[in-house]
């Protein structure tokens, strides 16, 4: 029975991909458009890229965003690994249901509410004597992003841990490894790829976040999305298109490179595993 998509299926897929990609293509095209306010093509220019160099607000925002994204990635991966380990390995402990609920909740909770609740926590802390020094800024944004990032990192690491072969851990234990050694020498190398994709994912989520950043940012801590959002609210700004083009190019290259790298190391790992088994069979 023929199940390949017919002309209708192909057409549907093509239209769907067109819908998904046309805004991104136009975003890039208009970053080279000479006209400032219009969205009519008036000729090719690199002016908006030149204007970016002098745009302190965006440059500083980008640097701050990258810093926060990097730290968010690291913190989320550490917390997410802990949480995934707990969820996969410890089937019974006090409050497990509450734990898994809390881990997953930020995935679906509206960001406005997550941000609002952290903001209210912050304000309540500021009104106590011990934390009156605490101000909105990079640190508070980082906490908010890591709360969101942890949820995503947990999902990624969890699925890898679930399919991992536990017998190699048991073998290590039989050979006298302490639990800590088993984790760092056996488990961790086995889930490195999941940790890397979790880092990339949480890094980009942090780099992109507006709502939580805006709620938890203070004067002088405007991340790049906050700057872009405030300009986008006012109208169209070709410099935003230029920033967009640069980030799209960088992210696309990074994603393609990392997925190629991951695919290659996965193939190498499979080859090593089968080589090990065939060596065993031969002996």
């Amino acid at each position: 029975m023929s199940t390949r998509p017919n002309w209708f299926g192909r057409g549907w897929l093509a239209a769907g991909y067109f819908f998904l990609y046309i805004p991104i293509v136009l975003l890039i095209v208009f970053s080279f458009n000479e006209s400032r306010q219009d969205v009519v093509w008036r000729g090719f220019t690199l002016n908006w890229y030149r204007a970016l160099i002098d745009d302190k607000e965006i440059i500083e925002g980008a640097i701050l965003s990258l810093k926060i994204a990097f730290l968010t990635g690291i913190l989320s991966v550490i917390l997410g690994t802990f949480a995934a380990f707990v969820l996969v390995r410890y089937k019974r402990f006090l409050g497990r249901t509450a734990f898994s609920g809390m881990v997953n909740a930020p995935l679906v909770m509206p960001e406005v509410i997550v941000g609002l609740s952290l903001l209210l926590l912050l304000v309540s802390l500021q009104n106590t004597a011990a934390f009156s020094w605490l101000n909105r800024g990079m640190f508070t944004i980082l906490i908010g992003h890591a709360l969101l990032g942890m949820a995503y990192a947990t999902v990624v690491v969890q699925s890898r841990l679930q399919e991992m072969d536990r017998s190699i851990e048991e073998a290590a234990m039989d050979l006298g490894c302490r639990p800590g050694q088993v984790f760092f020498l056996v488990t961790l190398p086995n889930i490195t790829q999941a940790l890397m994709s979790a880092f990339l994912l949480t890094f980009t989520i942090s780099l992109d976040d507006v709502v939580i950043s805006q709620l938890l940012s203070g004067p002088g801590s405007s991340t790049m999305p906050i700057v872009i959002f405030s300009r986008a609210r006012l109208g169209l700004d070709p410099r935003v298109n230029a920033v967009a083009t640069i980030t799209i190019v960088v992210v696309t290259i990074a994603v393609i490179a990392s997925s190629l790298y991951l695919a290659r190391s996965e193939r190498r790992r499979q080859k090593e595993i089968s080589a090990a088994f065939s060596a065993e069979a031969a002996s």
């Binding site: 029975m1 199940t3 390949r4 299926g9 192909r10 549907w12 897929l13 769907g16 819908f19 998904l20 990609y21 805004p23 991104i24 136009l26 975003l27 969205v39 009519v40 802990f82 707990v86 410890y90 402990f93 734990f99 809390m102 997953n104 679906v108 909770m109 509206p110 960001e111 406005v112 509410i113 609002l116 609740s117 952290l118 209210l120 926590l121 304000v123 309540s124 009104n127 906490i143 709360l147 942890m150 679930q162 980009t204 992109d208 507006v210 709502v211 709620l215 999305p225 872009i228 959002f229 986008a232 169209l236 935003v240 920033v243 967009a244 980030t247 799209i248 992210v251 696309t252 994603v255």
Partner: protein, 306 residues
């Protein structure tokens, strides 16, 4: 008591640390903030710092606890001000329409993806996921340039001679819906694809052998078997849509009421923190039912895997 202690402090201290670290983090930055939201939602507004009055007071050596329900009552005082009731209804309405459109576009899309040659499936999947890696904010912003009065869409329509005058499309329910469907479509496609790609083709063949028409095969075999994917995708679209803020702010208009925007205005324009907290509490109550459905199916699909 000893038993409880033994459960809390197992003989393996490593285990206690492994559980304790993420647990403490979540209690501090997830549970505690929500309890504070609850507390402030039953406080009275205060002009000054903090912008809400304390719940507890010591009066003549008595501890007075005052729970103020005015914030909640005013949300549903339709006779006086029906802004909130209308906003909740319209948020649910836009979220439901977004879910329906995503399903109608996304189901055939995921179906055809899953039926494509196995060699090109990873590339098709990658192409759906790529927009995820591109900034969400910038993709929403891009629609502004497309839908604005002298924008690309109007230029094309005029160029084709379909319309004479440019249409007003930006900041209308139409532009809001386009933005929401656009952003959330991959959230619908991915779980559906994951589900449909596992569909056993032999079942369809069996149905065909037994005389089912293609239409019957679709409705009686494919759809029931992909039920968990449909539910997961729908919840992944519906729940975040209810509280969406950025898309209505950039693409919506004054008449497209969404709860995220009203909450934001309460907080930053009116400085009414107790009211904002009450709005948040009611929003959580609204999405808690779909959330429970989602968790149930999520647990089931994880159970299938192990």
């Amino acid at each position: 008591m000893n038993k409880l202690l033994a459960r809390l402090m197992p003989n393996n201290p490593g285990r206690a640390v492994v559980i304790g670290v993420p647990y403490l983090w979540l209690v501090l930055f997830f549970l505690l903030p929500f309890l504070i939201v609850l507390k402030i939602s039953v406080s009275e507004m205060n002009v000054g710092q903090p912008p809400f009055k304390p719940l507890t007071e010591m009066v003549d050596n008595f501890l007075n606890i005052r729970v103020y329900l005015g914030n909640f009552i005013s949300l549903f005082d339709v006779a006086n001000d029906d802004l909130y009731a209308r906003t909740y209804l319209s948020s649910l309405k836009y979220a439901a329409w977004t879910t329906i459109f995503c399903l109608v576009i996304g189901f055939p899309f995921a179906y055809f993806m899953a039926r494509a040659r196995p060699t090109i499936r990873p590339a098709l999947l990658m192409l759906v996921m790529m927009p995820f890696w591109t900034s969400f904010l910038l993709r929403v912003y891009a629609w502004k340039a497309i839908l604005t009065t002298n924008g690309v869409f109007n230029q094309i329509l005029i160029g084709l001679g379909i319309i004479g005058e440019p249409l007003h499309m930006l900041h209308t329910p139409f532009s809001l819906m386009i933005g929401m469907v656009y952003v959330y479509l991959p959230f619908m496609i991915l779980p559906l694809y994951a589900n449909l790609v596992k569909l056993d083709g032999r079942l369809l063949e069996a149905a065909a052998d037994l005389g089912a028409t293609p239409w019957q095969r679709f409705w009686l075999v494919t759809v029931p078997l992909s039920k968990s994917g449909i539910i997961a995708g729908s919840m992944l679209v519906f729940i975040p849509c209810v509280g969406e803020f950025v898309i209505p702010e950039l693409l919506g208009g004054p008449e497209t009421l969404m709860i995220g925007r009203v909450l934001w205005d309460e907080l930053f324009s009116n400085n009414d923190w107790p009211r904002a907290a009450a709005v948040a509490v009611v929003t959580i109550l609204l999405i808690i039912v779909p959330l429970a459905i989602f968790n149930k199916y999520q647990a089931e699909s994880q159970g299938e895997r192990t």
